[in-house]
Homo-oligomer: 177 residues x 2
Amino acid sequence: MDLKEKMISSKEIYRGHILDLFVDKVSLPNGKESTREVIRHCKASAVLAMDEEGNIILEEQYRYPFDTILKEIPAGKCDKDEDPKDTALRELEEECGYRANKIEYLGVIYPTVAYTDEKIYIYLATELKKTHQHLDDGESLTYKFIPFKELVRLAKEGEIQDGKTLAAITFYLAKNY
Amino acid sequence: MDLKEKMISSKEIYRGHILDLFVDKVSLPNGKESTREVIRHCKASAVLAMDEEGNIILEEQYRYPFDTILKEIPAGKCDKDEDPKDTALRELEEECGYRANKIEYLGVIYPTVAYTDEKIYIYLATELKKTHQHLDDGESLTYKFIPFKELVRLAKEGEIQDGKTLAAITFYLAKNY
């Protein structure tokens, strides 16, 4: 079955700081026309940072769209032309003050497949060494180390809602499944 | 530490078919001002539908933002005032032609915490009975049953990128962790 859609035209609605919005006219596989609202966003990385005892870093960060504080693994947008692996290492050090000697790719997540093209690359960082936290201007967060098992328990009990953090758990569990 | 931000003003940039875009002016905990780009989106539901042998339904669906076909569990937007559980049951029947006699809440995922307020409620549906698929106009997808273990293997091998599907795996594994 042909499932593909073809772009006929694309209209830029908004070009912003962290996202751009387009409304595209497309032709459907059945020959009809439709519109697609698409958020274009840069790449991002997230990192499951684990110490030698199997504890991972979990942040608490205020998230404006929900007006609440969420539990998340460290993450951030890739700078232009930055390798996502370098982003993961950079964000871990900036947000939590840890340098990782070892980093392993776990997988990529497409958080919102219906209307954004965002991709988040997820890594496992180990052999951690304490350095210095240096948050961006206006960035506020706290973090602590918790056992990985506790992270899974938090997910089970509805204490973790963040998509990339839930996906990171799957990737880590799948490694040894 | 006070991490909260307060909205000073909100400007509607775009009101669309599946999403609305706002640019808000906010005051940060440190007293400074900043802007927040926020996509407002309705609620949605997704469903891990499992037969008596432990096989689950995995769809293949074209996704315009990536111009590719992705593997996903059945999902869809909640109609106005619709209970997310009813959405899950409705989408399973519309997309795949199965009615579930039993449905259990697994958890909620916030797919993109930085700039959308979307929430996806995830359910486990069992005691499936074949009825009839009835896709929306212009909706094209295929599906098949695969063992849950195969779903985890696909995630491990990078064959599943969809955020809600990866989160559903975590919720299901966490149940018995």
